[in-house]
């Protein structure tokens, strides 16, 4: 079956997060509110105004990947390749057993392989063009995670990359769903970013949204009166999306359904028109055929910029009513992971469905004036059947995605 009646389900998860490498470690940390933010170790941050990051712990690429791939891959690509391996294994999919054109790869990216690119640009500037790696031709590129996953697993179906900063993580999953509805059986999707390097750092500093706190527990406080920007992180999640019928026929375990999606772009500043986030939520709910009261939890974008927090809180209140739905931001434990953030939130929502537990927003004391039922302190037991995940990208991207338990 193809077309919009086609159900698309998630059958595998691969996670690399600052508070846990692998789905099991990540969920064990997240359900108990254990964070992974600390002082940057990938470079010496002492001369920069922002010095905290969420770094993925314990990742040794050579333990997981062949030597052939190491000279040609940025850190983010190595994380993506390993997470894709884990997601496929979790789904019980052996790619070599499926027709190669029945499988595709659609990931999100926000910056490409900055660390690799930085090293090669430094070589160009200090030693000359002869010293630049031939692999710089693609290792920095936005589409490289999709390409490397495709090559490693022999996936020749529809593939691509979506670049819309943090919203891209949801936009990629939506594009994957579109391709499955057009007839591709399986798409590897999600996002993985890792730009904790000095070049990536100055680019992010220029956006003026990084927290300058040195206290990991006070640095990233969305919806708090002390909100002061975010802590950047590295990592994300890779998900296996499949045609639900195909998944069922092979006896796959499913985490849930990608049930609805909506995206908008904010109006020009000064136009007087309202921000687009509310509309994105309404579009996603309509696409899922869900009413607001069916939503059991919202995973917030949680910018931790007061103006953006206010816009998000108002959108949620407008759709769900004052304190009308539990809202959480587990990314307070990881920092903002850019293209990796929303796929990780989707994975987290599916794990919340599985366990019946809403993970907490850590360190935050909600400010007066936000009428949100923010899940703070510790995780909240709850039957979760439908979850809404929100993600906003720098300069106006708004995306919303609904995941639903499979019966």
């Amino acid at each position: 079956m193809t077309g919009t009646a086609t159900k698309v389900v998630v059958t595998g998860l691969g996670v690399a997060a600052p508070n846990g490498l692998g789905t099991q470690d990540y969920w064990a940390a997240t359900r108990t509110g254990k964070g992974g933010i600390g002082r940057v170790t990938r470079f010496d941050p002492s001369q920069y105004p922002s010095r905290l990051a969420g770094e993925v712990p314990g990742f040794e690429a050579r333990d997981h990947l062949p030597s052939r791939l190491l000279p040609q891959t940025d850190h983010m690509t190595r994380l993506a390749l390993v997470a894709a391996d884990w997601a496929l294994a979790d789904a019980g999919v052996k790619p070599q057993e499926l027709p190669e054109f029945d499988m595709g790869v659609v990931t999100a990216s926000s910056s490409g392989g900055f660390e690799f690119g930085q090293r090669e640009l430094q070589a160009l500037w200090s030693k000359g063009g002869q010293h630049v790696s031939a692999y710089q031709s693609f290792a920095w590129f936005y589409a490289v995670n999709s390409g490397q996953i495709s090559i490693r697993n022999g996936m020749k179906g529809p593939s691509g990359v979506v670049v819309s900063e943090q919203a891209g993580g949801l936009d990629a999953l939506a594009q994957a769903r579109r391709q499955i509805r057009k007839g591709t059986r399986l798409i590897v999707s999600g996002g993985m970013d890792a730009s904790v390097c000095t070049w990536g750092w100055v680019a992010q500093l220029a956006g003026k949204r990084l927290s300058t706190s040195d206290d990991p527990e006070r640095a990233y406080l969305p919806f708090d009166a002390e909100a002061r920007g975010h802590v950047p992180g590295e990592g994300g999640a890779i998900l296996i999306l499949e045609n639900a019928e195909a998944a069922r026929s092979r006896g796959a375990r499913t985490y849930g359904e990608i049930a609805g999606y909506g995206s908008t772009f904010d109006p020009k500043p000064g136009s007087g028109r309202p921000p687009g986030l509310r509309k994105a939520i309404e579009l996603a709910l309509a696409d899922a055929g869900a009413t607001p009261d069916e939503v059991d939890v919202v995973f917030a974008d949680a910018a931790a910029v007061p103006e953006l927090d206010r816009i998000e809180a108002e959108a949620l209140t407008a759709v769900f009513g004052a304190r009308g739905v539990p809202v959480t931001a587990p990314k307070t434990m990881t920092g903002r992971l850019y293209s990796g953030a929303a796929p990780l939130d989707v994975a987290t929502a599916l794990l919340a469905i599985e366990e019946g537990l809403i993970p907490p927003t850590t360190n935050v004391e909600p400010a007066d004036g936000y009428d949100l039922d923010l899940v703070t302190g510790e995780a909240r037991p709850a039957e979760v059947r439908t979850a809404l995940v929100l993600a906003r990208g720098f300069n106006g991207f708004n995306s919303a995605l609904v995941v639903r338990a499979t019966p």
Binding site: P66, S67, R68, P71, Q72, Q130, S133, A134, Y135
Partner: protein, 90 residues
């Protein structure tokens, strides 16, 4: 540098540094010298990287066709040594 011979061990070392090695390939096998690079798991970009590293280390400039024409380790070693001005001992 210019009088240093380019050996099979140099080539293996530079291949490993610049491009790694395919899991299914043994660079120390007896067939190595006369195997096609493609069969050894090295595509054109890996050879471009390898050529660049050889040029840097041995202070030579290989013309564009040198790399594309030398499809085996033996042929590449010969062409590099011809540039260095060394007889090839392999």
């Amino acid at each position: 540098m210019a009088t240093q011979e380019f050996t099979v061990d140099d080539l293996k070392r530079i291949l490993l540094e610049g491009a790694g090695a395919d899991e299914s390939v043994d660079l120390d096998s007896a067939d190595f010298l006369d195997s096609e690079f493609e069969a050894l798991g090295y595509e054109s970009l890996a050879l471009l990287e390898t050529g660049g590293r050889i040029e840097r280390e041995f202070g030579i400039t290989l013309d564009d066709t040198a790399l594309t024409d030398a499809t085996t380790p033996r042929a590449l070693i010969e062409v590099v040594n011809a540039h260095i001005g060394q007889p090839t001992a392999v």
